[in-house]
Symmetry: C2
Subunit: 305 residues, 2 copies
């Protein structure tokens, strides 16, 4: 990161805090949201729902924690071990409780008194879907509307790169052709939606931040096969724009892992597309200013109608 | 728990799953929510907001993870170590990543490859408020409206005792008298609101499930001082009704810990009251049936107006 973009991130965050849109928690990337921020986020969410209303997606809402066994099978840890969060708890005796309190009181590490539980934090809103649809899908496949808090363990000074944030996603399960056509439709639709909100967005082929030595090769493959598209906007940096919407075509990855089959007995393909809800909201404030009453009439008409 | 109430819990959960109101995750107490469940929860939430609209609370929304240092200071671990959830992540090398994957692949314990992070799961929606208002409060104190996903590490077959659930809370910070009067007002208001929804609720002095040997004494003290009130309703058991709303008067507990002072220089008192959003929603389905179109007109008028 250049010094310029670090300074731009800090200036934007300072403005957001001053307008009580974000409330710092003391942990980088973890913020409270002010009422106005939340109102804009919810209004954008209603716009998303209205835009997709004709598709007939089934609405499901999942909590921020998911089944650890399913998560282990998903292979997220293969690609992004550094981003995952597991949940731990205390399962000890009275004596161990006394130890725990002494450690906490003295400011010592109390991690030795925690045990891993059966849940991890959801890394994306769509993760509970794939194990859920294990088995044979209906002839037209599945379409789901999911929304949840997600966690990515990455400390950043960029307010648009939070550790805990919301994702509104749609997930398609079906035959390869139908899934790809659906993905292509959504990239166009999403671009159109964001442009009507006055956001100067563009779409591009993208790759994920795969971990470790083999990561670069995985990213090159992902780009070559055009599996990931992002809708990008410069929030804090022109050189490194922020993805505010993205789509992933997983091919038969989740279908193979979770035994999802088409009626013809083939492994089903899957794709998801999602809006980063905090990122879109930040993009709106960055583009149109901190006072929503002064936003362009065309934008207000969509969000406040 | 009696066999009868275990059977009642199972029967109720089976019905909820059959009507696609809850979707099991494989982990007890962790569920997806169907669209109809979510719609009722949101409608009840709007009723809460409308009922409190005249109070002038500041709306703040916090993510499901909070600052670990603040959490350590809160003394939650003193009373409820067994319920808390800490968040861990991988911070290792390429070689350790290979180890991690081998452990996961072989179904072995991979907890040795995780490290405690700077965040824990929020045990209640109000926890981020107390460190935030450290310092001198305004003459009339503070009033906040908070809502978040909370985590309690307790496996249960009771669908009304989830590990991951939402709480809509109001939090009052001020002088003792004002705080107690506010708490009393809310217990009455809450009872009235829930009764207009046709829920056969009653209020009672209550105590928390304090951990360990000293726990019983803490609970007795809490009851004697009437610090906790619960609004109760039989969801799965008549003998052990479920709390769907509760209030806690913390006296000067958080004020002392986080250095919250009145303008006169006294330690501020705090209280919170909150609705268990999933519990209220389940209570509505239990009381009025699984088909919302068939709910009493008086209830539909409030929630669907």
């Amino acid at each position: 990161m250049t010094e310029d973009s670090a300074a731009a991130e800090k200036a934007f965050l300072d403005d957001l805090v001053m307008h009580r849109l974000l409330i710092p928690s003391g942990v980088p990337g973890v913020f409270g949201r002010g009422g106005v921020f939340e109102d804009v986020l919810e209004r954008f969410d209603r716009f998303v729902v209205a835009s997709a209303a004709g598709d007939g997606a089934e609405v499901l809402r999942f909590p921020p924690v998911i089944n650890r066994r399913d998560f282990e099978r998903s292979e997220f840890l293969k690609s992004f071990p550094q981003l995952a969060g597991s949940v731990w708890s205390f399962e000890g005796t009275h004596e161990q409780h006394m130890q725990l309190l002494a450690h906490v009181h003295d400011g010592r590490d109390w991690s030795g008194l925690q045990k891993m539980t059966d849940v991890v934090l959801a890394p994306a809103a769509c993760y509970p879907i794939y194990p859920m649809v294990s088995g044979t899908i209906p002839p037209k496949g599945h379409l789901f509307d999911v929304f949840s808090y997600c966690f990515r363990h990455e400390a950043s000074g960029d307010p648009a790169r939070m550790q805990s944030f919301r994702m509104h996603e749609y997930v398609r399960v079906g035959e390869a052709e139908a899934v790809v056509a659906w993905r292509d439709m959504w990239v166009e639709r999403g671009l159109g939606m964001l442009r009507t909100l006055g956001l100067p967005v563009g779409a591009d082929v993208a790759s994920d931040p795969f971990f470790g030595r083999g990561g670069k090769l995985l990213a090159v493959n992902q780009r070559d096969q055009k599996l990931k598209f992002e809708v990008l906007l410069p929030i804090c940096s022109n050189e490194k724009p922020t993805a505010i919407m993205s789509s992933n075509y997983h091919q038969n990855h989740f279908g193979s892992i979770f035994g999802i089959k088409t009626p013809a007995g083939e492994v089903a393909h899957t794709a998801c597309m999602g809006f980063g809800m905090e990122r879109v909201t930040l993009a709106l404030f960055k583009t149109h200013g901190f006072v929503t009453a002064e936003w362009p009439g065309s934008v207000r008409k969509i969000l406040w109608s």
